[in-house]
């Protein structure tokens, strides 16, 4: 079976969980002998290495010629489309970004379709134009690369998926990792919503990363329930067992790691930190990541006068994330709305006990994690304190959690995915 897949990020250039998910998924598909043509927009011209190198589970860069990866690579055709698509930004944010950044480079030689489409290289500051441009390219790809099914990840690629379906007539699967309601709360961008709904309507199946997300798709987008299936994410297995990085500090560390945006609920983490620090000075909190609420969080920390125990580590790359997990005693994901949320699984792989919000998709698949409502900072503080001080529970969570995560394999996800494909192709 050959799958034409549209994404918008792929390791090592990832800004969120989607790139990691795509990587894991395609790996699992390779394991089950499915071939994938993976198409990604090439955003800023510094991704040249992506075509020849790929990143391993713990995000250490390795050469794809390595034995273990050849098999995977054999199943994957990797295409880059010259485009200004930037993941995880709202259309408004995108305009702001493109106004100020170096967006005028001409890089058409390296782009796969440059010759035919002859892009100017200076992209308009309009995210929607980029999305349509990507769709335009998709028709061309659909013609040139034979495939059985089309698979599109999130709204930026939905028009591309739909265009490909128009061209080849093959079944379309749209994979929803996050909806506009997750990203923006109730103040949704109508245009984005329309694109999402259009994609879901054209699709033969809508794949949701959690039951939560499936409910949103059915209720908010009016998609027929029988067309929407849940496919939980998994976690990429550690390739090599590396030495654990030792926490050099006397205090235990509680970590938040993710984009510092509304969706991730960073302020609940700060407030819970304040509550814990009020009773226990012997702990440090770390917020790693960047995002539009970063400044507000710094101010909030200063306002609560906990700056000497609350640190901002900035955006961390792969090895640093691993280091951060190794140093952590508790990992907290207080997301207000999290369709899935892979990062707690990565923390659990590093034997870190986790606290996750009930409003996350990952809470549907995890047993060995403390689940709290994102707004319940008392419960969150309580859980943090317990995991820091009561050896019984923290040790059990670390051990059982690790086992639990080991069983969440992308191979299994890919197997289920093939079943979903076949439910349409064999019908």
């Amino acid at each position: 079976m050959r799958v034409l897949m549209f994404g918008w990020e792929f390791p090592p250039h990832i800004s969120g969980g989607l790139g990691t998910a795509c990587f894991g998924l395609t790996k699992g598909m390779a394991y089950h002998n499915m071939d994938v043509v993976f198409v990604v927009p090439k955003a800023f011209g510094d991704e040249d290495q992506r075509a020849v190198r790929i990143v391993s589970a713990d995000q250490q860069t390795i050469n794809i010629r390595d034995q273990s990866f050849q098999d995977y690579w054999k199943h994957l055709t990797y295409l880059e489309v010259s485009s200004g698509l930037v993941p995880y930004v709202s259309p408004e944010e995108y305009r702001r970004l493109t106004d100020s950044t170096e967006h005028d480079y001409t890089d058409i030689k390296e782009s796969v379709f440059a010759e035919t489409f002859n892009f100017t290289g200076s992209y308009g500051p309009d995210l929607f134009k980029e999305v349509s441009r990507y769709a335009l390219v998709a028709t061309k790809i659909a013609k040139e690369h034979w495939h059985d099914v089309i698979h599109a990840h999130d709204w930026l690629t939905f028009p591309a998926g739909v265009a490909a379906k128009m061209t080849s007539g093959k079944p379309l699967f749209v994979h929803v990792h996050a909806t506009e309601f997750d990203r923006s709360g109730e103040h949704i961008n109508q245009q984005v919503y329309e694109i999402e709904r259009m994609g879901m309507e054209y699709a033969d199946r809508v794949i949701a990363v959690s039951n939560r997300t499936r409910d949103v798709i059915i209720e908010r987008y009016g998609i027929a329930p029988e067309k929407v299936v849940t496919l939980h994410n998994a976690v990429i297995m550690g390739i090599t067992q590396r030495e654990r990085y030792q926490n050099p500090l006397d205090e235990k560390i509680v970590t938040f790691l993710g984009r510092i945006t509304f969706q991730k609920g960073p302020e609940y983490f700060v407030e819970a930190a304040k509550k814990v620090l009020d009773v226990d000075k012997n702990v440090r909190f770390v917020m790693a990541g960047s995002g539009d609420m970063w400044q507000r969080m710094v101010e909030l920390v200063a306002h609560r006068r906990i700056g000497n125990k609350f640190h901002f580590a900035g955006f961390l790359n792969g090895p640093e994330v691993k280091k951060m997990f190794d140093m952590s005693s508790v990992y907290v994901m207080p997301s207000v709305s999290e369709p899935f949320g892979i990062s707690p699984l990565e923390a659990m792989q590093s034997n870190v006990p986790v606290i996750i919000s009930r409003q996350s998709g990952v809470s549907e698949v995890l047993n060995h994690a403390i689940k709290v409502d994102f707004w319940d900072i008392d419960a969150m503080a309580d859980a943090i304190y317990a995991l820091l001080h009561y050896q019984g529970i923290s040790k059990m969570f670390a051990r059982m959690g690790h086992e639990e995560v080991e069983n969440l394999k992308w191979d299994n996800v890919a197997f289920k995915l093939r079943g979903i494909y076949q439910s349409v192709t064999n019908a």
């Binding site: 500090l249 200063a302 000497n308 640190h311 580590a313």
Partner: protein, 470 residues
Amino acid sequence: MKKICFYFQVHQPYRLRTYRFFDIGKKHDYFDDYANRKILVKVAEKCYLPTNQLLLELIEKHQGKFKICFSITGTLLDQIESYYPEVLKSFQRLAATGCVEFLAETYSHSLSALRPEHEFEHQVHLHHKKIKELFGQDPTIFRDTELIYSDLIGERVFRMGYKGILTEGAKHVLGWKSPNYLYYNTIEPKMKLLLKNFRLSDDIAFRFSQKTWGDWPLTTEKYVHWLNQIGGQDEIVNLFMDYETFGEHQWAETGIFDFMRALPDRIFSNSNFEFVTPSEAVEKLQPVAGMSTPFPISWADEERDLTAWLGNDLQDDAFAALYALKPLIDKCKDPQILKDWLYLQTSDHFYYMCTKFFSDGDVHMYFNHYSSPYEAYINYMNVLADFSIRLEKSVHLSPELPAAERPKAEAKLKKKVAAKKAASSKPAAKKNPAKKTSVKKAPAKKTAPKKSVKKKVAKKVAGKTVPKLK
């Protein structure tokens, strides 16, 4: 004869390097030695050396009639001692002329005067000693960081034995009164106040090269004309400015050096002014009135208040976290830690966290190597976290430890200190004993009970506007 008093503030901070969360507990080098040295060398060559030379020539030429005064921070003295001793020598040559006065201040250009702890007195003591050691003068006049002043600070400074203090002629404090007289502290009338004439000072310090300024270009004729225009009864014009005005803020190409070279001659020939140092002014003039300053003022920005350093959450959190360490510091004997403690108090660190970007943003950005106040705060707090860990360890490793563990721990500590001593340059080793002795002395000083009563009153008056004033 009317008097003119030139005072120059000479200061460079020890800037912090980018200190990441992962460094906490592992790395204890906080300061960006490369940048600090680079900036010092640049400023020395553009400003300190040529201006010192110019002033020396003027002093020699006018045979005792041209006088100036300096306030040089301990952090700058430490930097020139280790990075550029030639600069120190040139200041010493100026000191030897007898026409140059040196003022007392806090060692590290800190905001300790705003804190009730003895850190303020301790730092002033350290700085006084340093000035005596390097320039052979016993300062009698005081200047607090950035001309910060309040009635309470004036009183504290008086208790340390100083006769006068320099501050800003802030409009909101002076009202209709002129800065061109000697004033006194309203709590301690024996404490004299010299007020900056900010218009005439800023004409040189800020506007000199501003081509959009109506009076550009500034000539000595014009300037002396303005001097002659001040009120008939006015007695003294205090021209207070950053020393870096010469050659650094105003480049040599603007003609600032030529202006300064010609100014004394023009003043002697075309006006009824003589040059005095602050101690002479305090001696010769009678104060005309008290200046009541319940809230601290400074020479910064349009508001002439403390908001460049304190007031937003970032600054207040960092400031409180820093001084929460003071009780431990009093027990600490590790010279390297005590030195870092001084350098971490430098007001510049708080200046970088200022969020008033709109009205005075230009000046703020000029002095700032961080891309945002948030980064400045995060970096500072990371450093402070590591510093507190070291401090706690050093204090807890000393006497109280059980006898069995002590030798091990001490040996470890000694090794560390020895290694650091060897690594740091010679002048650092020289200074350390001085700090040690003064630490012991500081707690011995007792404040009069009177003071605390007044403090409470002032606090009440201060209300919400100046919550930091204690």
